[in-house]
């Protein structure tokens, strides 16, 4: 207001510098955050991109080798009913929807298995999508709820 114009220059420079830092960091560090279904729909354009994929560990696919710290499993979409979120906008299908449920193999090497990791749990996989639909993960994070529901009899 009553700050002299040359203070606007100083303040402006600081604001510009902060804006530049933010913009620059955005360009170099942002990654897609996708569901398994979204990865499937955009598979062709995502090769080599940094990704975070939210999915569910498919039971019966987990393979953990403690000696090499290698964790392999498949992720499948999280059923929408479970998330309680509004339905995700449908991806426009260009091909007929296959009846085979979508899944991706995940290979995480060099990291210990997270405590909460278990078949059927929801996980966030950070890594890159390689050829053949294998996600090479740098990190596997399990989402932990602060509240537990007792296991339901299946």
């Amino acid at each position: 207001m009553n700050i002299r114009p040359r203070f606007f220059i100083g303040a402006g420079l600081i604001i510009l510098a902060i804006g530049y830092l933010i913009g620059n960091a955005m360009r170099t560090t942002s990654e897609y955050y996708l569901t398994v279904n979204e990865v499937a729909a955009r598979q062709s354009e995502l090769g080599g991109e940094a990704l975070r994929v939210a999915g569910r560990v498919k039971p019966g696919t987990v393979n953990w080798e403690p000696n090499t710290l290698t964790l392999k499993f498949e992720i499948v979409p999280i059923p929408e009913l479970d998330t309680g979120a509004a339905p995700i906008k449908p991806v426009v299908a260009t091909e007929p929807v296959s009846t085979e449920p979508v899944s991706f193999s995940v290979v995480a090497a060099g990291e210990p298995k997270p405590d909460m990791f278990a078949p059927g749990r929801d996980v966030i996989v950070e890594g890159k999508l390689g050829a053949g639909g294998v996600i090479t993960a740098t990190q596997v994070m399990t989402s932990c709820a602060s509240k537990y529901k007792p296991k339901q009899a299946q």
Binding site: M1, I15, N24, Y33, K147
Partner: protein
């Protein structure tokens, strides 16, 4: 019993509503009876919420699983201390704790202002009661802590193992205390806007509240980081997770606020800025609760997703609109006649420090909500992780540290080049010498060298300040050194406490830089008898021991740690826990902390045969100093908050409306010099 809790919350809501009407009617019609009645209503509201809290505590301690809350967050085998802390483990309890703290602070503010601020206090208390109404509304109608279960389970689902930890017991109350106490200065700021009494009375009346809030926000963040460090087992303490950011942003804004109010008190400038900052700080406390409770932004911690989002968002928008409206309505009266005179002035340094702090806040905010924004705008979620926050904030932190050194030494209004040289020659020399020493010692990263040099520079400025003040007292009052130092701090606690906080910040900064740049890590799968090295340590895995209790099973690895000379230093015992009730494993980290570095051992896994352990070991230099710096910051804040006779007199003067501008020397020497 649960009915008593519900009843108490209902009465509290009615009392909150009544107190608003009584306060506003009382101040408008000049009816002191109503003001008194409103005060009593606030105190009664506090008593009612206290009853509700006690009822919930009793239910938790008695494992009364007819309450859904108790059944969800406790169990019969949960240790008693955690039954106590389960009060804030879940959403309903957290909101109840929030409402309770708010009621307590409102009651204290009502008591403090029973004779002070007769024009503005009723409005401020009405604003606080308005906030209380929001929380009480939620507790009465949306997320009720005393809901009963139709079928009473024999056993509860237990508290999340991650929360069964000492730090998690004290982190949420600290943070909430910091969050909630920020609403007191906010309410007085809003009252200043409503009444048009726009001098700095509202700042001075609530200065201690702002520092109190900052104190607990600082502790809350430090405790949270310490919890992450000890419990999550990844060797770090801060991951820029949305939940963490939500706690960090109000701290940043309150830090900016505590500095910029000094400019208004001194120079009657930046009125709009200060009112905006306190509004922002309050808004961010609501925003923090909104993002942690709404599930809008996915967090690794991913706390309860619930339907609370829309309520918090509506309240946040309503508060923002009302407050911004008030600011615009009063904008003409908020113009200040004073001006900035020179770049080389303390107010300029403070202004730039404010811009950087708010800039960091904005960057953190942007990174936190970007996934939501990008999804709304481009239809695809794009997220930024820790690299984003580090890349933006690392340079800004350097700027901030630099200004930490400049601000306190530079004079108000303007400084002559002569003065500059005299004040800064020694600190600059110390900083440069540190940089050269670091380079000679083999440090090559430019960031680390700059950071350590700047840190040394700031330490130098603080030393110069203490020396200058001590010498002034010694010469003017003939006090011996030690007495001069003690009196200097005691008589100018606000200023020298501030310097102690600065030293704490710098020490914590050194800890952050050291632990971020020099951490090393080894991951190994080992059999009993195997050994491996990290840094100068040799670690040998001796074997497992297992203990089973009804609450949890544990497998503890025994690891012998040998020093460079092959002598045993200690045996570390990281463990893998398995909590029976939630059927969930957890990790117990073993840490050997020294000022030089922390040895951090995680038992990451045990193979099925029970012979092989997967160990993850981190060697993190200087991380000790992060916690030490944090404690020093808290200690400095206590010095600042310590009651001071001179300041009370100053408040009395301001409140009786004659402005004073004590000069620099009086500041240094204190009342003894007159």
């Amino acid at each position: 019993m649960p009915q008593l809790g519900n009843l108490a919350l209902a009465i509290a809501l009615i009392l909150a509503v009544y107190s608003i009407f009584a306060n506003i009617y009382g101040v408008r019609r000049n009816a002191p009876d109503f003001i008194v009645s409103a005060r009593h209503a606030i105190w009664s509201m506090c008593a009612m919420i206290t009853i509700a809290v006690v009822v919930l505590w009793v239910a938790l301690l008695r494992s009364d699983f007819s309450l859904e809350y108790v059944a969800s967050y406790s169990s019969t085998t949960l240790p008693t201390a955690y039954k106590f802390t389960a009060l804030w483990a879940g959403q309903q309890g957290s909101l109840l704790l929030w409402a309770w703290l708010l009621a307590i602070f409102t009651s204290v503010a009502a008591f403090q202002n029973r004779r002070r601020n007769p024009d503005t206090a009723p409005y401020a208390l009405a604003v606080l009661a308005g906030v209380a109404i929001f929380f009480l509304w939620m507790l009465n109608f949306v997320t009720r802590p005393f809901d009963l279960l139709a079928v009473i389970p024999a056993e509860g689902s237990d508290l999340n193992p991650l929360l069964q930890n000492y730090w998690m017991a004290i982190h949420p109350p600290s943070l909430y205390t910091g969050y909630v106490s920020a609403s007191v200065p906010f309410a007085f700021g809003a009252a200043a806007l409503i009444t048009g009494k726009l001098d700095d009375g509202w700042i001075r009346s609530t200065r201690r509240w702002a520092i109190f809030s900052w104190f607990f926000l600082t502790l809350g963040n430090i405790f949270g980081a310490r919890w992450a460090y000890e419990v999550l087992g990844w060797g770090g303490y801060w991951a820029w997770d949305p939940v963490e950011n939500a706690a960090f942003m109000p701290w940043l804004v309150m830090t900016a606020y505590l500095h910029s109010v000094m400019i208004q008190e001194r120079k009657d400038m930046l009125k709009v800025w200060n009112l905006s900052l306190i509004g922002l700080a309050f808004g961010l406390t609501l925003f923090g609760t909104f993002i942690t409770r709404s599930g809008v932004i996915s967090s690794v911690h991913s706390f309860t997703q619930s339907g609370l989002g829309p309520y918090f968002l509506s309240f946040l928008i309503a508060v923002t609109l009302a407050y911004t409206g008030l600011l615009i309505f009063r904008s003409k009266q908020l113009r200040s006649p004073a001006e900035f005179e020179s770049y080389l002035s303390r107010e300029a340094a403070f202004l730039f420090n404010n811009l950087i702090l708010v800039g960091i806040t904005f960057a953190v905010f942007w990174g936190t909500i970007f996934p939501v924004l990008s999804e709304a705008v481009r239809g695809v979620k794009i997220t930024v992780g820790p690299p984003f926050f580090n890349r933006v904030n690392a340079p800004l932190a350097l700027g901030l540290v630099f200004l930490t050194g400049i601000g306190p030494l530079i004079a108000w209004r303007r400084t002559t080049p002569d003065n500059l040289v005299r004040s800064f020659a020694a600190p600059v020399a110390i900083g440069v010498a540190t940089g050269i020493l670091g380079a000679v010692a083999g440090l090559r990263q430019w960031y680390v060298l700059t950071a350590f040099s700047l840190a040394a520079f700031v330490m130098g400025t603080v030393l110069v300040e203490f020396r200058r003040g001590m010498n002034a007292r010694r010469h003017l009052l003939n006090e011996p050194r030690a007495k001069a130092l003690a009196n200097l701090v005691a008589k100018n606690n606000r200023r020298y406490g501030g310097y102690v906080i600065h030293v704490g910040v710098i020490i914590a900064f050194i800890g952050i830089v050291g632990s971020s740049f020099f951490r090393t890590e080894v991951k190994k799968s080992v059999h009993a008898g195997d050994s491996f090295t990290i840094g100068s340590y040799t670690l040998r895995f001796l074997g497992f021991s297992e203990v089973d209790t009804p609450h949890l099973d544990s497998a503890t690895a025994r690891i012998e740690v040998l020093g460079r000379d092959g002598r045993e230093i200690t045996v570390m015992t990281p463990a893998k826990l398995f909590y029976i009730r939630p059927q969930q494993p957890a990790t117990l980290v073993a840490i050997r902390s020294t000022p030089v570095s922390d040895l951090y051992v995680v038992l990451a896994g045990i193979d099925d045969s029970g012979k092989t352990a997967t160990l993850e070991v981190f060697l993190t230099p200087l991380v000790f100093w992060l916690w030490a710096g944090g404690l020093l910051m808290a200690f400095g804040t206590v010095i600042v908050m310590w009651p001071n006779v001179r300041e009370r007199a100053a408040i009395a003067t301001v409140l009786s409306r004659s402005s004073s501008d004590p000069n620099e020397l009086a500041d240094l020497v204190g009342p003894g010099g007159h």
